[in-house]
C-alpha cells in the first residue's frame, strides 16, 4: 500500500491559490477549480445569471468554437463537469495523467478567454429554463432547494439554478457583467491531484494563469430568512419533509462536535434517525440529516419522504430524535462516527477526482491544508461528554419546516 503523499500549496503573485497532491499509485490526474462566481452574486431579479454563465463558458473559448472545444476535450478523454454553488462556479475534470497538460491549457482558455457570444446566449437560457422545469418534477430535490431559501435567507439560500420567474429577464450583458465582476484570480483556488510532478505542473499553471487579473469582490444581496413554517401544495403520493436548524461553521472550534452530533443522528444505517424512523417503524424509505457547513455558518438540514398518512408521525419522530440527542450519547455511537470518517478519508486517497475537489474546497473553507493526521487528532479528541455538552449548548432552535404534498403538517414539539 502506498502512503498518502503530502499536499503542497502555492500562491501565485496574482493571488490565485494552487494546491497539488501527487498520487503515485494512480494513472489519472484531476483538477478542480473554484472561481468566486456563484449564485450569491446574481443581481436582484436576475437569479440564475451564474447558471447561464456556467452554460456559456464552455461554448467557445480562445481559438476554439463550441464544437472544437468539446471535440478537443473529448479527444483527451477528459471527464468534465461545470457547476454552480452559492459561492463558486466550479470547473472540474479528470483524465489519464499524460493528458493533463493539454487539458489545463484548454481550462485556461475557458476561464480567461471565453467567447460569451450572442449566438450561444439564447440556447444557454433555454437550457437553464429546461433544468428549472425539470426541478419542478422532482419534489425530493425541490423541497431541499426551497428549504435552503427559507432557512438561510439571502444570499446563501439562493437557488443555484435560479428561478423560472427571473430566467427570462436575464440579458447577455448581465452574464458578461457577472463574468467580468467575478472571474478574478484573487480568490480562485485550483486543486490538482493524481500522477503528477508538482514542480512541472506548477510551472505550467503559472504560465497559463499568471496573467489573470484580480478585482474587488462584487456585492451580494442580503435578506432575512423565512417563513419558518411553510407548505407547498402538490398532488403527489408522498409528502416531502424538509427540516433545518442552525449549527456552527466549519471554522468554529466546536465544529467536530457538531459534525459528530449529526453523524450520531444520521451517519450510517445504525444512526438514530434511520433506526427509529425506518427500521423500527417502517415509516419511510429515505430519511437523513446532514451538516451543511459553510465558511461562516453551519446548518443541519434534514429530509424525509413518506406517504401522506404517515407524514405527521414521521415528522414527530424526527423531532423527538433531534431533541433526544441532548440526553446523552454512547461511546459506541461516537466510535462508529469516527470509524466512518476515517475510512472515508482513507478511501478518498484512491481517487484523483475526489482528492482534487477536496483539497480545493478545504482551502476555501479553512485557508489551510488540513492533513489526515490533523483530522484524526481532532476526531480522537472527541468524547461522548463533549458532544453531548455541545448539543445542550446548541439545541435545535429556530427550526425551519417546509413540506411539499397534498396536506401541511403540524410542528408538535415542546418549545425549547
Amino acid at each position: 500500500m502506498t502512503a498518502p503523499s503530502t499536499t503542497t500549496s502555492h500562491a501565485l503573485p496574482n493571488g490565485m491559490m494552487v494546491l497539488i497532491q501527487p498520487m503515485p499509485a494512480v494513472q489519472s490526474a484531476a483538477y478542480s477549480l473554484l472561481v468566486p462566481a456563484g449564485c450569491i452574486y446574481d443581481r436582484e431579479d436576475r437569479s440564475g445569471t451564474a447558471s447561464v454563465l456556467c452554460e456559456m463558458l464552455s461554448r467557445g473559448a480562445g481559438e476554439r468554437d463550441s464544437r472544437q472545444l468539446s471535440a478537443d476535450q473529448d479527444f483527451l478523454g477528459l471527464q468534465r463537469s461545470e457547476s454552480v454553488s452559492a459561492r463558486h462556479l466550479k470547473l472540474s475534470g479528470a483524465t489519464l495523467s499524460d493528458k493533463l497538460p493539454e487539458s489545463l491549457a484548454i481550462l485556461a482558455d475557458i476561464v480567461l478567454r471565453p467567447h460569451l457570444n450572442e449566438d450561444e446566449f439564447e440556447p444557454s437560457i433555454a437550457s437553464v429554463r429546461q433544468t428549472l422545469l425539470s426541478n419542478e418534477d422532482e419534489p425530493r430535490q425541490k423541497v431541499m432547494i426551497e428549504l435552503r431559501r427559507r432557512c438561510l435567507g439571502l444570499p446563501w439560500g439562493l437557488p443555484s439554478d435560479g428561478s423560472l420567474d427571473d430566467i427570462d429577464r436575464i440579458a447577455l450583458d448581465d452574464v458578461r457583467n457577472h463574468y467580468r465582476g467575478c472571474f478574478r484570480a484573487g480568490e480562485a483556488i485550483l486543486g490538482i491531484a493524481g500522477q503528477v510532478d508538482p514542480p512541472r505542473v506548477l510551472e505550467q499553471i503559472t504560465a497559463l494563469f499568471g496573467d489573470w487579473s484580480d478585482a474587488p469582490e462584487s456585492e451580494v444581496r442580503h435578506a432575512p430568512p423565512g417563513p419558518p413554517v411553510d407548505h407547498i401544495v402538490l398532488d403527489s403520493q408522498q409528502t416531502q419533509i424538509g427540516l433545518a436548524y442552525p449549527s456552527v461553521s466549519v471554522n468554529d472550534p466546536e465544529y467536530y462536535a457538531a459534525w459528530a452530533a449529526v453523524g450520531i443522528l444520521s451517519g450510517g444505517s445504525s444512526s438514530r434517525l434511520f433506526t427509529e424512523v425506518r427500521e423500527k417503524r417502517g415509516l419511510c424509505y429515505s430519511v437523513h440529516a446532514a451538516l451543511s457547513a459553510l465558511k461562516h455558518r453551519g446548518d443541519v438540514l434534514c429530509y424525509a419522504g413518506t406517504t401522506v398518512e404517515r407524514a405527521q408521525e414521521t415528522l414527530d419522530v424526527m423531532l423527538t430524535e433531534i431533541d433526544r440527542l441532548a440526553e446523552g450519547i454512547t461511546d459506541d455511537e461516537l466510535n462508529r462516527c469516527k470509524a466512518g470518517a476515517k475510512s472515508t478519508l482513507i478511501m478518498q486517497q484512491e481517487s484523483s477526482m475526489a482528492r482534487a475537489a477536496r483539497i480545493a474546497y478545504d482551502w476555501y473553507l479553512r485557508g489551510a491544508i488540513i492533513t489526515l493526521e490533523e483530522i484524526h487528532a481532532r476526531l480522537d479528541a472527541l468524547t461522548p461528554a463533549k458532544v453531548a455538552e455541545f448539543v445542550r449548548r446548541h439545541p435545535a432552535r429556530d427550526l425551519t419546516l417546509l413540506t411539499i404534498g397534498p396536506k401541511p403538517l403540524e410542528m408538535n414539539r415542546a418549545v425549547l
Binding site: 437550457s127 429546461q130 408522498q238 444505517s269 433506526t275 424509505y285 462508529r336 470509524a339
Partner: protein, 412 residues
Amino acid sequence: MQFFETRLGNGLQVIAEINPHVHSVAVGFFVKAGARDESSEVSGVSHFLEHMAFKGFGDVTAEDVNRIFDDIGANYNASTGEEVTQFYAAILPEYLPRAFELLAGMMRPNLAESDFDMEKQVILEEIGMYADLPGFTVYEKAMQAHFVGHPLGQSILGSTESISALGVDQMRAYHADRYRAGNIVLAVAGNTTWDEILDLANQYCASWSGGIPERRVFPAAHPPTSQFLHQPTIQQEHLMCMLPAPDAHSPLRYAAELLSVIVGDDSGSRLYWEILDPGYADSADLGYSEYLGCGAYLSYLCCAPEEAANNLRRLRAVLDDIQLHGATPQEFERARNKVAARVVLSGERPMGRLSSLGGNWLYREAYQSVRDDLDLIQSLHLDDLRRLLDEFPLTITTTCGLGPLESVESGN
C-alpha cells in the same frame, strides 16, 4: 495485479483481483436473481428479499448488521435489477473478515415474519417514492412495453398490490431456489490476499446448499408500440424510446457501447449537439443495456411538452443519419478515448473494479483486467460499427411518454 478463481464444492464461484497498491478492499456477492425470475404472484420479491437480507441471520439481529457495518466504517449497499441482485462493501483491509462474515450471513437471512411485515411498509414507501419520479416511472413503463410477454419486462419493485399480497413463505421458497450456491458469484477486488479469501469463503460459504436454478433465456419479440400516460400536473414531458441491441454474449456489445457514446453521451455526442446544446431539452441521452438473450438501447428525453414532437423527430434524424452514414473517424476516435479514460478512472477504486469484475464473471465467466479492456477498446474500428448497424438497425420500436401530453405525433 493478480487474478485468481475457484469454485467451492457446492458450486459457489469465487474470483479475486488482488492489488496491493490500493488502500481498501471491496467484496461483493452477485446473485443471479432479479425481476425476470419472478412469477406474477411474487412480483417484486427479489428486491424485497434484498431488503430482508439486512434483517439478520442466525443470532445476528438487524441492529447488529447495521451497527457492525458502521463500526468498521464500511461503505456498503445492495441493489436489485432485472437479472442480478448484488450486495457489496468496501472496507479497509483489516476489516475484511468482519465485513465478509456479515455479507455471507446476509446470503442466508432469517426471513422472520415480524421483520417481513415491518419491511413491507418500507417497500410500499419506496414504491410511492418512485411513483413521484417521472423519469423512473417512464423507464418502467417502457421496459414493460418493449419486453411485452418477456420476463425482462417485469417490474423490479413490483406493485402496491403484489407486495401487499406477498407472504413470507413465498419469499422463503424463492430464496431457497435462487440463492443456491451455484447461482452466486463471490467477487473481491483490492488490497488482500487470495489465501485470506479462500479461508473466508470456506469458513462462511462452504455449508450453503448447492445447485443451479433454472432461468429461461430467449429472445424478445419487440412489437412496435407507442404508449402515453397523461399526467397534467407534471411540468415536463418524459419520453423513453427503446431499440433492440446486442445481448450480453454478443461480440458486438463493445461496438454498441461505443455507439451509445457517439449518439447519446452527455457531452459532445450527436444528441448533445442536436438537442441539448440548442436548449431543446433538459435530458437527451442514449444508453446501452445488455441482458441475457436480449439487449436494448434506451433513449430518455425530458423536455417542455411543446418541444416533445420536435425532439422525437430530431432523435429519429440522428439515428437515421448514423444508420446510413455511420460515424466519422474523428468521432469514433473521441468515443474510444472517452471510454478508455472512464475505464481507467473507475478502475482506480476497488469499488469501481468490483462491479466490472463481478458483472463480467456473472454473465460470461470471463476475467478482463483494465489493460485487457483498454486493448479491446483500441482494437475496435469503424467496420465493427457497420456490422453492428447492419445486424441491429437503429429503428425505434417502443416509445413511451409521461406528462402533460396525451400523445405525440412526430411523423416518420
